[in-house]
Symmetry: D2
Subunit: 267 residues, 4 copies
């Protein structure tokens, strides 16, 4: 009774698992491997600036714990604050991974809150696409920028749920909806997921997947939380496909009349 056909694609790469995970913040590389294995993730994202995937010879390498033969590596530009830095970093990642051209672009705007800089992100996206990268892009929940990023060739749009590392869940599901309405490529909620229900909500909205790191790595029991997230992502996906019951409001509140729907017509 498994939905064996329920796959999704980033460009030509096809995946079954809809849970994408980060590789940082774990107590040890053993814990990293154990949690990621339990999560069922097929795509693992790696911060080139913080993680050894060969740059530092003689040190333990993630490659030995999370073999690229079994996982799809998604090098990211975490820690970069300009388009230029991000592009350089992702080129280094591609080189370290023998030409593997998939990447997660991320250009931050402020070290105190890690909010993305969308102007620089768009500049870098164009350059990376022109340079042959398959670009998945971390972004704000701005539906106009989501469309621009898709228009320049990004293969997945990855809006934040809330700030990186905040664990506050999806603060503005309405914006995620606006993005989902228009996008022709997969939309993946990235950043801000804090617990299992957050992942389920992302999937119930119709996202193709959800990416997280801190929520698993900083749970008291990361391996168990990895399993919770795997189940929650599946649960949310199944609920989306099953088609939920209609909500029946308690009452027709005179204080909250509802009329029409904005995006169904031009105003």
């Amino acid at each position: 009774m498994q939905n064996t056909q329920d796959t999704w694609k980033v460009g030509s790469r096809e995946f079954t698992s809809r849970l994408l995970v980060g590789t940082g913040k774990y107590a040890s590389l053993d814990e990293t491997r154990e949690a990621i294995t339990e999560s069922g993730a097929e795509i693992v994202t790696v911060a080139i600036r913080r993680t050894n995937i060969g740059q530092n010879a003689g040190e333990a390498s993630l490659l030995d714990y999370i073999p690229p033969s079994q996982f799809t590596y998604l090098p990211n530009s975490a820690g970069c604050y300009t388009a230029k830095d991000a592009v350089r970093t992702l080129r280094l990642g591609r080189e370290l991974l023998d030409g593997h051209n998939l990447c997660k672009l991320e250009v931050l705007g402020d070290p105190t809150n890690l909010y993305p800089d969308m102007e620089e992100t768009l500049i870098a996206a164009k350059e990376l696409v022109a340079d042959g990268f398959d670009v998945m892009v971390y972004c704000s929940d701005d539906p106009i920028y989501a469309r621009k990023l898709e228009d320049v060739g990004c293969l997945a749009i990855m809006p934040l749920a809330s700030l990186i590392g905040s664990g506050m869940g999806i603060l503005n599901p309405w914006n995620i909806n606006l993005i989902l309405e228009k996008a022709q490529v997969p939309v993946i909620v990235d950043a801000g997921v804090g617990t299992a229900s957050d992942a389920a909500i992302a999937m119930e909205l119709g996202c193709a997947g959800v990416l997280m790191n801190t929520a698993i790595a900083k749970a008291k029991n990361p391996v168990q939380m990895a399993r919770a997230m795997r189940l929650a992502t599946q649960a949310g996906r199944e609920a989306f496909l099953a088609g939920r019951m209609p909500k029946k409001f308690y009452t027709a509140s005179p204080s909250s009349p509802v009329e029409g729907v904005i995006s169904s017509s031009t105003k």
Copy 2:
């Protein structure tokens, strides 16, 4: 890596599944069986006033589709508006099930919203306990009544998430928390769950289980939603056990200072 020991008890009865399901509102008894099987539920609740479990000889009986040898029946008093009616109905249920003394007490207060009548519920609870029933009790999210119901001997407290059939999710998680803080018996969110994330949230709060009917029966694909709910209930339970990451708020909002915690001290 399964948590094989993660069981819970209603009195002396022990269960593994934390998803309890209703048996009404399905398109057919075949669909009822298929969805309930997929849900993994061990406890199924049955509205004595609406469901044939032998009262109507010659008609199809739920007992033939959901065999009591495989499921724990939980007869309920749905549709009763007085303590007297509820007690009589549950006695009929016990009789029909050959003395099976487990029941879900439910006394409603208003046919237009199905909100429970807590005064009548407490009266009925006392009478049922005195009569030898093992009482699981549907109730409002009033923490004082939750304690009273436990004090008179109820074996599980089942507060609503929102109105029966509304699918609005947990409207007041703070009250559920107040109940959880004091209860020595299992607390099971009953009524109002609409989709998978609602079930996950109930479990993440620390509930022992979650009971639903409409959310599964009235999904577009009930069987698939049953599976979603099974996964979501497990996901929420695992997340609760794993211990979620701390939330880090964006900012110390000057408009929302937080100080102390009400229930940690007498005011």
Copy 3:
């Protein structure tokens, strides 16, 4: 352009101000007077067990700062945990105020959270009404108990927004709506208001008034907050009367279909 006709009644007493205030928790009786004057309140509630209105001869009396000739006193039974105690306390209040028969009944269920005990509250309400009191009653947001309290003769229903002293605002506006739909007497949100917008929201829902104490007394500047609350209560009332614009949702979210309205029909 003032709405000079927009008055409301508790039994035969008529009021213009819809902001009711408590008299406790201020730094001094001078501050009490100044803040209450600024609030524009006509009704002031007094905890008989904590406030000197003549019981303690020789001590400063509230009566000298908030003259009963200018304000309608509303003695309350704060601090009482049984019907018996509450009735006795309110009788003492009536005696101290020369037979003034208006009172706010309040029976608490738990000293750690101050949640009301609705069972005891209803018992006390019956007794007070029979004894000639005009009863305004503090209660949970349970719509069935709200109706019972009205049925036994209470003249105003005063559901909590959230726990006393919590300042969390209206946690479950849906329940307040259910109460408002049925009530024939004024509904006044009592307890839990934290800031001006909370008061406005209560009024926008259609409440007749809002009662608060801590939100004013424990603001950094109580007198200024008293003015904010006066303005917010008026603002919310005017907005309710003006009839707000319809909400236009961003999108017809496939994850949140809405169908029907519970309380418009029996399900």
Copy 4:
């Protein structure tokens, strides 16, 4: 006891009222005048593309109903989808108003939801500032773009609460907080306010003001709603200045630990 000193500035222009209003969508110019007068607004925004302020000789002009001698006109570029169009439109407005150099820049990204195009907005902002305009700028709630707009010389940052005309209130107060934390110029919530409490909440967050049009013009009684909005804006401002009571949460929920504050430190 009025706060006569509580003024705010856009560049060198000083204002007392913190409620800014639009001039469109009313049933008549008489209603426009009556509602705006009741609102107490000093700044009125005018869509150059839709409102006659002299372009159409022989037609009724807003200037005759809302005299520029009594109100500060804020011409806006509503309906423009490119930087070029917006700049041209605002230049026309300046010309029509005899060189009045204040403007509200607004560049939209999508006619179906009216979400702003931040890339084009920033381009236009630079050009307008260089051309001698005093620019107040409508924007998304992106804190990085808010800073960029301030950096290029905008005199007020005007993030949306929710989509134009939606009346959904402030969907993401956390982002508004992030903007407020860094901004050195006034932050004014613009778009999405639906009722009085929404305006109060904007002010309680610490905004310098709030701008709205539909919420007043499309209320059942626009003049009364204008008064409600005036009171609510004052109420929220006073509450902000008074310093609200701390929230005391019901319980230390084990499911929601809170730790640290993101923006207080670099992570």
